[in-house]
């Protein structure tokens, strides 16, 4: 079972990653690095919500793969559209 401490750490991570993604837009001048890093952050945040908030880390693997696949594939496709 996900503990209260893990949930709060995950929330802090989500907040920090959000701020980093906003900051990245002002710091990174290379478009490829900027888009890739922002969308990678989306994946990490999605993984945190899936595993910790939704508690799918302790669910049957198929459901975890489905949700994790979503937060990996959708940012991946968006990244490909912007960069190709």
């Amino acid at each position: 079972m996900v503990t209260t401490k893990q949930t709060i750490i995950s929330w802090l991570l989500l907040i920090v990653l959000t701020l980093i993604s906003v900051y990245a837009g002002k710091v990174l001048e290379n478009n490829v690095a900027f888009i890739t890093s922002v969308l990678f952050i989306v994946f990490i945040k999605g993984q945190q919500i899936t595993d910790i908030f939704m508690e799918l880390r302790e669910a049957p693997i198929m459901w975890r793969i489905l949700l994790m696949g979503y937060v990996f594939i959708i940012p991946g496709v968006i990244c490909a559209i912007y960069l190709l």
């Binding site: 949930t7 709060i8 989306v42």
Partner: protein
């Protein structure tokens, strides 16, 4: 104690430990449980699919009209988007803590945490309405151009999901107060997972519209 009896004793201890450990390991494997109702998860997958089409459509449209989208994004308020992201993430935190409380049988704490999550979610509603009003006040609406058509379509669709999520949270809060989740918390978990999905969608939506 002789060597023979020591070995016998170790074997017995080892067997006893095996008897205690193995069923536990088996239980852990079997204990993998999907939180909430299966029907809610199919609903969540359907919602995610609809939004996936919007996200990809937005990205393709941006590639086809990059100048229009850059100009459109400059008229948005990134701070408003950031505040909304923090509001939804924080609201999700309180919902997750509420689920934890109900698992531990603390129904009152669970209800209080749900109420806090609703209050934080209201920040999102207020900021979003303010954003829409600000755009309307300078003559920008859904018919201005392709960017704003997609902007209003996607963000308003998400706004409606936030409202639906809040209604669901009120519903499970009322049911918790009536004592419906003393034994089976699946309904409560379903509502919470729907709320986390709304949060997850915004986490993709925010960089797509405001940052990139």
């Amino acid at each position: 104690m002789s060597l023979e009896s020591t070995l016998m004793s170790n074997t017995v201890t080892s067997l006893t430990m095996t008897q205690f450990v193995e069923p536990d390991l088996i239980d852990n494997a079997k204990n993998k449980r999907l939180p909430g109702d299966l029907a809610m998860w199919f609903f969540i997958l359907a919602e995610l699919t609809v939004f996936a089409v919007f996200f990809i459509g937005f990205a393709v449209a941006e590639q086809l009209n990059s100048e229009m989208f850059i100009a459109g994004k400059e008229k948005l308020h990134p701070v408003a988007g950031l505040v909304n992201t923090i509001a939804l993430i924080t609201s999700s935190l309180f919902v997750a803590l509420s689920v934890r409380a109900i698992h531990l049988g603390n129904i009152n704490k669970s209800i209080y945490l749900l109420i806090i999550s609703q209050c934080v979610a209201c920040i999102y509603l207020v900021v979003k309405v303010w954003e829409y009003q600000t755009l309307f006040s300078v003559g920008i609406d859904i018919e201005t151009n392709t960017f704003f058509t997609l902007y209003f379509l996607i963000t308003f669709f998400h706004f409606m999901h936030v409202l639906l999520g809040m209604v669901i949270l009120v519903f499970i809060g009322v049911n918790a107060r009536k004592g419906f989740y003393k034994e089976d918390v699946a309904g409560f978990e379903s509502g919470a997972c729907y709320w986390h999905m709304v949060d997850m969608l915004w986490i993709i939506l925010f960089p797509l519209i405001y940052i990139i």
